[in-house]
Amino acid sequence: MSEATLNTTPLDALNRELGGKMVPFAGYSMPVQFPAGVLSEHLHTRAKAGLFDVSHMGQASLHGAGAAAALEALVPGDMIGLKPGRQRYTLLMTPEGTIMDDLMVANLGNDRLFIVVNASRKHVDLPHIAAHLPAGVTLERHEDRALLALQGPAAVAVLARFAPAVAALPFMGVTPATILGAECLVSRSGYTGEDGVEISIPGDRATDIARALLAEPEVMPIGLGARDSLRLEAGLCLYGNDIDETTNPVEAALTWVIQKRRKIDWSFVGADKVRAMLDNGAPRLRVGIQPEGRAPARGHTEIVDANGARIGEITSGGFGPSCNAPVAMGYVDRAHAADGTAVFLMVRGKPLPARVAPMPFVPHTYVR
């Protein structure tokens, strides 16, 4: 896709002004890094606070009595039991019991759910959801809104200078907040393993608010490069790499997203296939992989056993700046999925020793 046909976010001019190296991502022109570079941006986020433009992601609301019940038909999560002011990670499912997308759902109260889906999947997800709504429930896209993530140990303290109420927000809590006069929606969540927030902002106010946050001494702009290395160290899936329409949630080690009641009613799209894999065991499992040497193993690297037989594939891999070591995740046959299992990664034709490792590679510091 040429530069001219790429979409831009409301922060495009600011991203360029800040020296962002712009690359195409999911149909958008997005900053992969700023002048500080991926390594510094990554470490800064874990030490203080990083500001990410994630406005390419799809934001939408479901309105109307029965919105939660309607969404429950499409996802394995407990949506009816999601309390007002709370958010939950869940999955849109295909009839084959595989993952159409992963998403966040927040209950804003008054029969209103707010959802955030992946940029690369919003053209699939939103029509799919809209097609499955009963009379009286409507889907409203928020294409006019920007989304900022402020992540890191100082993130909440920084945002609380503008919106004091966010200091009291629990992990996965959601609250409306007025920031510099703009009506925003703040959730205490993120994609880095750190404490932090995501802030939905009217698009025309996003640049003001981003500038104000960047003016705080703890805050640095962060690109997609560090976003990827941060989420990989945190053991979080990237849709399209680690999960997709060929992946059952059980093999993706995402069984925890199926809340108790949903394992009794099994009433979501594809539930029979998910239940069958839960009963019979997954043939392969998503695991962490820790290379023993210094060479990173990237996505699509073949994983073999001591005899050279193929047992799986890396789906995300690279260098973890906080680990100061290469880290990866991927799928291995069930027999090789136990933590500590010795495996080999075929990097440039050579088998490099590695071990199946618990994730996250860097402990989560969510506020519980």
């Binding site: 570079g37 991926v38 510094s40 490069g225 560090a226 060479a295």
Partner: protein, 124 residues
Amino acid sequence: MSETRFTKDHEWVRLDGGVATVGITEHAQEALGDVVFVELPEAGREVEEGEACAVVESVKAASDVYSPLAGTVVEANAAIVDEPALVNREATSGAWFFKLRLADESAFAGLMDEAGYEAFLATI
């Protein structure tokens, strides 16, 4: 002072007494970003012109480094294996990758000179 020549793969080459020292250019290290891993050829390896013989990886991606000319590797720079970040700091000096005894010294003159490389960079 020995002359520096360049390739379209963004390597620099300096010739001194039949031995060429090879590294990656400022443009290359900047495009790569923070270098976190380097793999170098062993001394004694014979390489063809254009043969991938070293690897440089940043947080973002892996790239091959190609031999600019045919020859035999006589030395590899262990310092950048131990400290890959040196490639970002001293791309055209201390962070050389390997030294090559050229099979044909006259081939060096066929590489781009600095003005040629600058002109090439302007086209990409």
